[in-house]
Amino acid sequence: MFSFSSIDQYHSSLQDGTATCLQAVEHYLQRINAQMHLNAFVDIYADEARTRAAALDLQRQSGRPMEVLHGVVIGIKDVIAYNGHKLTAASRILEGFHSIYSATAVERLLEAGAIIIGSLNCDEFAMGSTNENSAYGKVLNALDETRIPGGSSGGSAVAVQAGLCMVSLGSDTGGSVRQPADLCGIIGLKPTYGRISRYGLIAYASSFDQIGIFGSTIADVALTLQVMAGADDFDSTVSTRPVPDYTHGLKEKQDKPLRIAYFPEALDHPSLDPEISQAIHNLLKNLQAEGHQVSPVSFSLLDHIVPAYYVLTTAEASSNLSRYDGVRYGYRTSKEGLDINELYETTRSEAFGTEVKRRIMLGTFVLSAGYYDAYYTRAQKVRKLLFDQTQLIFKEFDHIFLPTTPSTAFRIGEKTTDPIAMYLADIYTVMANLVGIPAISLPLFRHSNGMPFGLQVMSNRFEELSLLRISDLLIDRQLKP
């Protein structure tokens, strides 16, 4: 009976012959089939995964050393390009489209021996927080199928939550990895902006997007990050800073007391579920008692970050989505007798969902003549303020603790009528994207309503190692009562 608890454990069982990659793939395919109603996957590469698994097994059996992610079964969010495979962004406008190249991140995973088992469902063009905005239908939270899994990387979160793959990739522009990780009770990491190449990641908001990782252990997440991170010839904005050895670094003992900051405005915000607030307050108190430095830091901009986020991301998105016009690829309307502008309008209106259209309209508005300074430039200034403030905080502290999301997973359909209510739920996650710092959601808690919720930890730019270490510590602490 195949079972998986971590990549390390999996590789040990491959080595000692108690498992094969093919067994692993069959195991996951079975589980996927048994849980199709969760609707986590858009496309399943069953035969391909089997073939690859068999080849990897042969490779190992012939004595070749295993690559770092040998046989690791991974699902990728349907916004990440994989050569020869459908890429739809969960949108009708990319119906039938097959990518003719692979994302750098995917190429690196494959070079490291991973098996890509399928593409994962999400909100259309990564716009949404509930995975109810997909052209392929909503995704269900495996812990309570009447509830949302979160979004936009809902499928990626459920895939790991429900044991449909070992590790999955999502994308995080305003919380789309951390929030579903929180609502599904797993680990979700958004790296520093520029840590992982964006080449092959369908752009939503170019200065916010990052590929993110879902996993069930910190070690797994660290290893996957290790493989994908680093400079890339195809992305001008990717960082050229060297990538630390996260796996090795995690094994080193750290004894220094931690310097942790938290925002009282955030923990005592009226929109935050009191149980979540309490749990985090308690954790902070306990850490302080254990000798770590825990301090409140004032954060007056809290109520302005979501508006700033929506101005800037919708502006970038309105431009990034112009290429979906029915000319070179994807959906084109079947209506006849249209001139070119009518073709654009009809194609885009027929194939984009409502939320996507809303955001394109808002983005077009904030960039338009006469409004640019009042909205777009202002929001850029708020971003600068926030960036500077954050840098000051990290001069004195190593980590910031925040909730990930104001509530646990709510019911499907509960929030679809009011976009603004949805946007406000991003209040804790958008900060990391606005200032480009790494952030992780850790599944530390359980609500009295039975659903999980997490803690969000943020570190300074390119301090993933520090972030992963404290994450490891906190999860370990959790396991010991």
């Binding site: 001008s236 994807g330 073709l343 309008e345 202002r378 200034k381 600068k384 976009p419």
Partner: protein, 96 residues
């Protein structure tokens, strides 16, 4: 601020989107609420603050002038909704 139908028409033309009469009412309401929401930024005093334009640290990123990476015409046309052997096709465009 109030969102007029004229504004919706202008923005949807810029974005090449079209709304039915019903949809227009809906999007007008949505946009109005969204704009009202982001107008919260007006409360802040941003005098003397420079806009943050780039999120990346990197500067002067350039590549060598080399020919590489092209795909075949077949591959290029493979995903096209309308094409000949040679070209992508669209309804005839009035000359610019």
């Amino acid at each position: 601020m109030e969102v007029t139908e004229a504004m919706i028409d202008k923005l949807s033309h810029l974005a090449r989107l079209r709304f039915t009469a019903d949809e227009k009412g809906q999007i007008r309401g949505d946009l109005e609420r969204m704009i009202h929401f982001v107008e919260k930024l007006d409360e802040l005093d941003l005098n003397g603050v420079e806009p943050l334009i780039f999120m990346t640290d990197e500067v002067n990123v350039l590549r060598e002038d080399e020919v590489k990476g092209s795909v075949s015409r077949d591959e290029a046309l493979r995903n096209a909704p309308a094409h000949t052997d040679t070209f992508f096709t669209v309804p005839k465009v009035i000359k610019k």
